[in-house]
């Protein structure tokens, strides 16, 4: 680990305090108003949350995978919508740039991403390209010294707030798969970009998702991450960020499960039926115990895989295992938390109903559970050959 124990403890302690004293009391308001207060975003900037994974030479903290996961476990204690404000800057939005960007690109974007002056957004999914992301049909056609982008991106998180899009577009029209796709850094204020209406979502109110439409949007020739050397290699860049991103989501799911368990336990100890706290009933205890056990398994998996990644081991399969298990696990934990609350669990007065909806997303984005299963098994077969 890069940081000594006492510095890491202090870092976690500060994040924990911010999460519990500042964010938790705002959860309901943010959800009801579907609005993230600007001053909270500013406080996140000042705290340094946008730059967790950006290298120190660009003004970030440069946390290791394990350190990042430990911070994210703390963040999971509150509504995941707060994390989504700076999630892209730390994950798919910046890591591709860190790994494959040119020196000029890094110098231009990373310092501002680390401070949160730039909010990044990742535009891969399209109406007809979801799990099969390699089939994107947004095109980038060279026209003089620039590319013209045309196409529609769907369900793009933070698009209304973003200053920078990472856009995946086909640069080789003769291909259909991922091989002819490049990743572009596109400033959000360029002409030719329009945003669709914000989607009405099941959960995570306060965060916004919409279509991003490119209509003859002109971007410089050197906007490809890594420059012309990386022409048609956008997916190779994306692939390099996936393991860490999946561990990040898995850690977030585990963090949420810990909050849900705390809510369920508190309620079960207070709520009395048949003259005793419902926590005394063995059937309720079974739900608590299963949740605790699975959550602990998730935490242990994430920390193990993160440490292995930091040690240089290939963790592609493990990262998928973590993402699959932790996100499915938090679904079960949320379901039990609602059940333990009884009718109250169906009401908005208690946070578990909101969390139940919020965590549903984790099984869908950054690779659905089915895609993770497919990947894990494919790797197993490949490795056994």
């Amino acid at each position: 680990m890069a940081l000594d124990d006492s510095t890491m403890d202090q870092l976690l302690d500060t994040v924990r305090k911010f999460v519990r004293n500042r964010l938790v009391p705002l959860e309901e308001q943010v959800s009801m108003e579907d609005h993230m207060p600007a001053e909270v975003v500013q406080e996140m900037r000042e705290l340094g949350l946008f730059g967790l994974t950006v290298p120190p030479e660009f003004g970030g903290l440069g946390l290791s995978t394990e350190e990042e996961c430990r911070v994210v476990l703390e963040l999971g204690y509150t509504s995941p919508v707060f994390r989504s404000v700076f999630g892209t800057n730390n994950g798919i939005g910046s890591q591709g740039l860190v790994i494959d960007g040119t020196d000029e690109q890094k110098a231009k974007y990373l310092p501002k991403m680390a401070t949160g002056e730039i909010i990044g957004s990742f535009a891969l999914t399209e109406p007809d390209a979801g799990s099969d992301a390699g089939s994107v049909t947004t095109t980038a056609v060279l026209d003089g010294d620039s590319y013209l982008l045309n196409g529609t991106k769907r369900y793009i998180t933070n698009a209304p707030e973003a200053q920078l899009f990472t856009v995946f577009a086909r640069t080789d029209p003769t291909t259909k798969g991922s091989k002819g796709v490049s990743a572009f850094l596109v400033d959000a204020d360029l002409p030719g970009i329009t945003l669709g209406k914000s989607n009405r979502k099941m959960g995570q109110q306060g965060g916004h998702v919409c279509d991003v439409i490119f209509d003859d949007c002109r971007v410089p020739r050197d906007a490809i991450i890594g420059g012309q050397a990386n022409l048609n290699r956008g997916f190779l860049t994306a692939m390099k960020t996936l393991d860490r991103g999946r561990l990040h989501i898995a850690a977030l799911a585990v963090g949420c499960s810990e909050r849900l368990i705390e809510e369920a336990l508190t309620y079960a100890m207070e709520r009395k039926q048949f003259n005793q706290p419902i926590a005394e009933f063995q059937l309720v205890q079974a739900m608590l115990a299963d949740s605790r056990t699975e959550s602990y398994a998730g935490r242990t998996m994430v920390m193990d895989a993160a440490k292995r990644r930091d040690a240089g081991e290939p963790v592609t399969t493990l990262a998928s295992c973590c993402k699959l298990f932790a996100t499915e696990m938090v679904g079960r934990v949320a379901d039990r938390a609602v059940q333990i609350h009884g009718g109250a669990g169906y009401m908005e007065e208690y946070p578990v109903a909101r969390f139940y909806r919020d965590v549903r997303l984790f099984r869908i984005y950054e690779g659905t559970s089915q895609i993770q299963q497919t990947l894990i098994a494919k790797n197993m077969v490949r490795d056994a050959r």
Binding site: S6, T7, L47, L61
Partner: protein, 250 residues
């Protein structure tokens, strides 16, 4: 102008403390420790004075075990420029701490020394006052506002039922009340940089002082457990109990 802020390592305010079975004190095993909240307000005030240009240097000082370095690092992350630990394995008590700090002040010659009004463990509310006497400095305790005016400091004090404004010639002592300010969160980059700021360790002997305890704690007892309530059958029974058992009405 230098500002010195003594800080105490105490049990975190979120911890439910447990008294040791033998009554000799509070169980500190595996208990989360933090900067005393009033001292944190002191650090925040000092850092604000520096940001406003009234102070040039902020020094955080602790008296106690090696472990106090943790809390000093927190202060450095919050904006103190350097830290001093006066290290002792003795149990620290107000008079010993005040003596050690007075000896340090003789070397540092800070223009302002900002104490927390009390620590949330001992609740003594003595150290700042003892220090002021030993160092022969004027004091403005329970401050809710501190303003530097040339070589004077104006302190608004929270007193019973109102506010009192006093003016002190510096060097002076101030102790913080809850409403003086709301401490910031240390930024994560500053937490990482704090490691590089200087933290000097002295022994009481280096400073020529004795910090040995002068007071002995005889017993620590938890608050009495609240007895279980009862449900009475009627208003008459309730009135009867209040009158004759609890004797709270007549």
């Amino acid at each position: 102008m230098k500002v010195m802020v003594p800080v105490k390592r105490v049990v975190d305010y979120n911890v439910k403390v447990r008294v040791k079975p033998d009554g000799s004190g509070v169980d500190l095993n595996n208990v989360k420790m933090s900067v005393n909240p009033f001292c944190e307000i002191g650090i925040e005030e000092a850092v604000r004075l520096k940001e406003a240009g009234s102070a040039t240097e902020v020094i955080a000082v602790a008296v106690g075990s090696t472990a106090c370095q943790e809390q000093l690092r927190t202060c450095l992350a919050l904006g103190a420029d350097r830290a001093v630990l006066i290290e002792t394995t003795d149990e620290v008590q107000p008079l010993g701490v005040a003596r050690a700090l007075a000896a340090l002040q003789a070397k540092e010659e800070a223009g302002l020394v900002i104490f927390g009004k009390q620590s949330i463990d001992g609740d003594n509310c003595q150290t700042g006052q003892m220090f002021a006497a030993l160092a022969n400095m004027p004091q403005g305790t329970f401050a809710s506002e501190v303003t530097i005016e040339g070589d004077k400091v104006k302190v608004i004090r929270e007193v019973d039922g109102g506010l009192q404004t006093v003016q002190l010639s510096m060097p002076a002592v101030v102790s913080t009340d809850l409403r003086l300010n709301e401490p910031r969160y240390a930024s994560l980059p500053n937490i990482m940089k704090a490691k590089k700021k200087p933290l000097d360790v002295h022994s009481p002997q280096d400073l020529g002082v004795d910090v040995a305890p002068t007071m002995e704690v005889l017993n620590v007892a938890p608050p009495a457990e609240r007895a279980a309530g009862i449900i009475v059958d009627s208003v008459e029974a309730l009135v009867d109990k209040l009158k004759n058992e609890a004797k709270v009405i007549s």
